[in-house]
Symmetry: C2
Amino acid sequence: MSIGVKEQALAARVAAQQLAEMDTAARNSLLEAIAASIAAAQDSILAANAQDMAAAQERGISGAMLDRLRLDSKRVQDMVLGMRTVIALPDPVGQVTRREQRPNGLLIERVRVPLGLIAMIYEARPNVTADAAALCLKAGNAVILRGGSEAQQSNRAIAQAIGEGLEACGVPAAAVSVLADTRRESMIELLQLTDIVDLAIPRGGEGLIRFVAEHARVPLIKHYKGVCHLFVDASADPELALRLLIDGKTTRPGVCNALETLLVHEAAAAQFLPAAAAALHARGVEMRGCERSRAIVAGLAPASEDDYAAEFLDLVIAVCVVADVEEAIAHIRRYGSDHTEVIATRDEGNARRFTQALRSAVIMINASSRFSDGGELGLGAEIGISTTRLHAYGPMGAESLTIERYVVRGEGQVRHPA
Amino acid sequence: MSIGVKEQALAARVAAQQLAEMDTAARNSLLEAIAASIAAAQDSILAANAQDMAAAQERGISGAMLDRLRLDSKRVQDMVLGMRTVIALPDPVGQVTRREQRPNGLLIERVRVPLGLIAMIYEARPNVTADAAALCLKAGNAVILRGGSEAQQSNRAIAQAIGEGLEACGVPAAAVSVLADTRRESMIELLQLTDIVDLAIPRGGEGLIRFVAEHARVPLIKHYKGVCHLFVDASADPELALRLLIDGKTTRPGVCNALETLLVHEAAAAQFLPAAAAALHARGVEMRGCERSRAIVAGLAPASEDDYAAEFLDLVIAVCVVADVEEAIAHIRRYGSDHTEVIATRDEGNARRFTQALRSAVIMINASSRFSDGGELGLGAEIGISTTRLHAYGPMGAESLTIERYVVRGEGQVRHPA
């Protein structure tokens, strides 16, 4: 019989209080102890992962999913390096973001404090276990991790190593724990502990996010799909646009900042589409197009409504010829997922219009969608890319795991003097 | 048959898009037109309010609730003045909060954009209808207002005037609307429109907040109760502490930033409590105390567990003598509501400890809890005081109705150059 979900969360919350009271140096020492502990536990982590891999293969899991589950010594080293990257980041906790003296003499400060206890719900990717723990601890938060059940042994081994690092520094292992009870009912219970869990972060595929959103009663920041668009304007430099297309679609098609749809201005289509089709074909990408694009590129399969809404996560791209920037905007509003949109243009007015009209988290002007990433955008590390339009929108780093509150200093001021 | 909830929300969302694309001057002109329209509609607003008042009195409603429902020409003028205050505030939309050039030449900007469509759920306070509309519009958001049914006629008359102002500026009246269907089922439907409503803000009593939290599937920022504490440290200036106590408890006991519990250091209790009791008694405040306070102040009623957790919203205060700042912190952690806590002290270490150990939205050092208010803390106006530890915590102004997103400019940069 495993520990109850509520008991586990209450223990984590007590630990969160201790973390919130530690200073920058103490929290960084803690992360260093954990990094060392993970490095030392490499053999047991790999042994646990081998069990997960064997069970997954027995269940017929293969391809990208199996690859995400797999650990090797390089990947364990990457976890350790990732943790040291996080140590080197500026500490968001205690940052004074604003300071104002009021006419009555009150000194108002806005100060960043940790959120408290975070529940991280994700798929079978053991490296997320270490990465998420590092960022949560950096920002002074406790975390309960609930990864995909296929990675259960790996996650436990990693959490065990993290726990040893925590305890070596006098912090309860409950500060970072894997949800002990692996049943779905327990995840639901965790997501409904409204006075204990401050934030749940689901990160993964559509099914997982919908399940969490349906059941959660605690605040939620979704890390949902990326149906990212590239719009090639009439004024675009065709070579630049082609570079963005190839980088966006082919360098890592399985991630959320990969391109899924290409929109081409009708004035550019006759020149751009054949070149794009040749370049994509040479890289094994299947194109599916609208009627007008099929009239330009011979042998193109037709794109369905579903194709325009799809996050393929694969070497497939939907194509649509549009009359102008307004039609591109309308297409993205209809089919987009508010993640990342790219415009290739030399027309400053169209760039401005595209930026202003779309509400996506990240707008790229003449830059690849693949830069929509915490590291690339200067956050140092990310816990994911939020598609929830509240608190954090787009790549989320350590700062997004804190909240600004008010600290006010006076000398006895009252609102209604006697 | 009134318009369906989903249709109303979809129309509001279309209007939100238009608001988001307006510039500062256009949005301020819009607010000015609405202010003029409300001023012109004063007679019809007061006539509608008279209907609500008559119905409420018939149903036996009285006291503070009836007072909150009541409008007069002064209160309508205050709505108009409030709107002009909002016009004068800085525009949060389009603010560039950070700008960074990456080593690869990418220019990263964080830019504030509106949240989108906000659902405001509140009690029978018609002035909130105008105030909330003004702040939502200022930040480029559409809003659907769902006030207490007792204020239904008043809210409709105010929304009618707002709609006329909107339409005079070419903005659909759907940008600000009162939920047409007044049944509870419709409120629930509104709270579950996850792909349409960006944020719900419930503001009011415990029952309302719990109802909304139970049913909402859209993101939520709660504006919940304030069980605010004053801790009088051993080192406190007794006159200063007494001033904070009187201001916090007696100047407006029915609001959420009023004091509900007084904690006194045992070394200060023998001197402070009799003076406090006399001052409070003279102002009609009932004190309920712990055993140790009852030994000092004769005739004090005992405080129960419920009293320590209560938001009295009335001339009642719970009192507890504590051994030191740690015991005060433990008391507040146990009974507090994360709203506002005050310490009266001359000991900088105790002030620091109190601030660091408590996770409340606002910490006041030697200042009255009654300053926990958007206007007093420099926001110009507030839509409420968030007790949700996400996105906004404490007084929430126009800026809290926006979100930072990323706008990235490049010259064709790709993540993996060929």
